[in-house]
Amino acid sequence: MSLLTQSMRQLLRHTTQRATLSGAMRALSLSPTLQQQNKPATIDVSAIAKEHQKECQTVCERINQQVAKSEQGRLFAVVHLCGKQFKITPGDIILVEGYWPPTIGDEISLDKVLLAGARDFTLIGRPILEAGLVTVKATIIEKTLTHTKTHFKKKRRKQYMRINFQRSPNTMIRINSIELTRPLDSNAEPEVEPSKRLF
């Protein structure tokens, strides 16, 4: 317990060093064992950075190997869609509330992937993963209206009473596939410009 807390404190202190590390490391949720060890009072920044780099590379390689052999199993992702976040895996059904233009039978790809993961690893975006790293494909299967909602207002002693009925559109989406399209690059610098596909 105390070990953990100390390492946490040290992490907090050494945020400046962490900033020098490559972007891919921070995209991985795996924290290297190095961070959890007690460091001596004098710290060689470059050496630690190098070790981090190494650790990062090995982790990326292991993930890439797993993906190449297709041993990663079922993938899941957290996507941002129409102002809401959904945790999805292939075969899921999600519903979008309100007006949304795509119609039935449309095949779309969900680009705002906040997080993607499998049994053994998780890729975390800051706030979203790089474009083209993970493709999430989905099909629109239903566009319908909700049940009739009653909107009732009344003010006491004021002779005021209104009753409205409303039905809002709903869109049902089936997730077809989640795939890692390209191998992870441990040396990849974080994107300077935000993705243009955000809207």
Binding site: M8, R74, I88, E142, T144, T150, N170, M172
Partner: protein, 192 residues
């Protein structure tokens, strides 16, 4: 307050027959347009049949369209779905735009789902892939062997450093530096 929702069915989102997993299949199979040839309430329906019905049928070859004239009755739309549902809509005094909108709704639905309240906006067959979270996830197994109450475990994480601790740290640092300096001196002497 209306109590009509008390007996409303509620459920979870489902799609019939794994629709959309391989390909999408339109669930509307038949649509029947009933109208009167003379009555004013069917005017919009007649306009729709004149102007848009052929286009609609051409665009949707999977949907069978029936047109049924009947005297002195209100116009009606009836859709029949793959799962056996039948949706009936009255189109009395509606314009052709409204009718085309309602027909579009019938086409895009999976069945007459209008009377169901959804309890979730999400359905999955695989709720967890990395396993559900527990309080012991990613925790050191030391916690199993601790005897409680434990003074160290019950401390807050971020207690500020006390003056004594700071002094001890400074002292240790000083010692380290001295040690280093001593080593350097030794090395220098050896080099000489």
């Amino acid at each position: 307050m209306s109590n009509s929702h008390l007996f409303l069915k509620s459920g979870f989102p489902r799609a019939p027959l794994q629709n959309g997993l391989g390909r999408y299949v339109c669930q509307l199979q038949r649509i029947t347009l009933k109208f009167c040839k003379n009555n004013g309430s069917s005017r919009g329906m007649r306009d729709f049949i004149e102007n848009h019905l052929v286009d609609f049928a051409k665009e949707n070859p999977g949907i069978v369209v029936y047109v049924k004239p009947r005297r002195h009755r209100t116009p009606v739309l009836v859709g029949e779905y793959l799962n056996g549902d039948r949706e009936w809509l009255s189109c009395r005094n509606s314009t052709q735009d409204e009718i085309s909108k309602w027909i579009d709704l019938l086409k895009t639905q999976n069945g007459s789902s209008s009377s169901m309240r959804l309890r979730k906006m999400w359905h999955t067959d695989v709720p967890s892939i990395q396993g559900p979270w527990t309080p012991f996830l990613l925790r050191s197994p030391d916690a199993n062997n601790q005897t409680l109450p434990n003074k160290e475990a019950s401390q807050p994480f971020d207690i500020p450093q006390t003056a004594t601790e700071k002094l001890i740290e400074l002292f240790k640092q000083q010692k380290l530096e001295e040690g280093k300096a001593g080593d350097e001196i030794l090395e220098q002497k050896r080099a000489e």
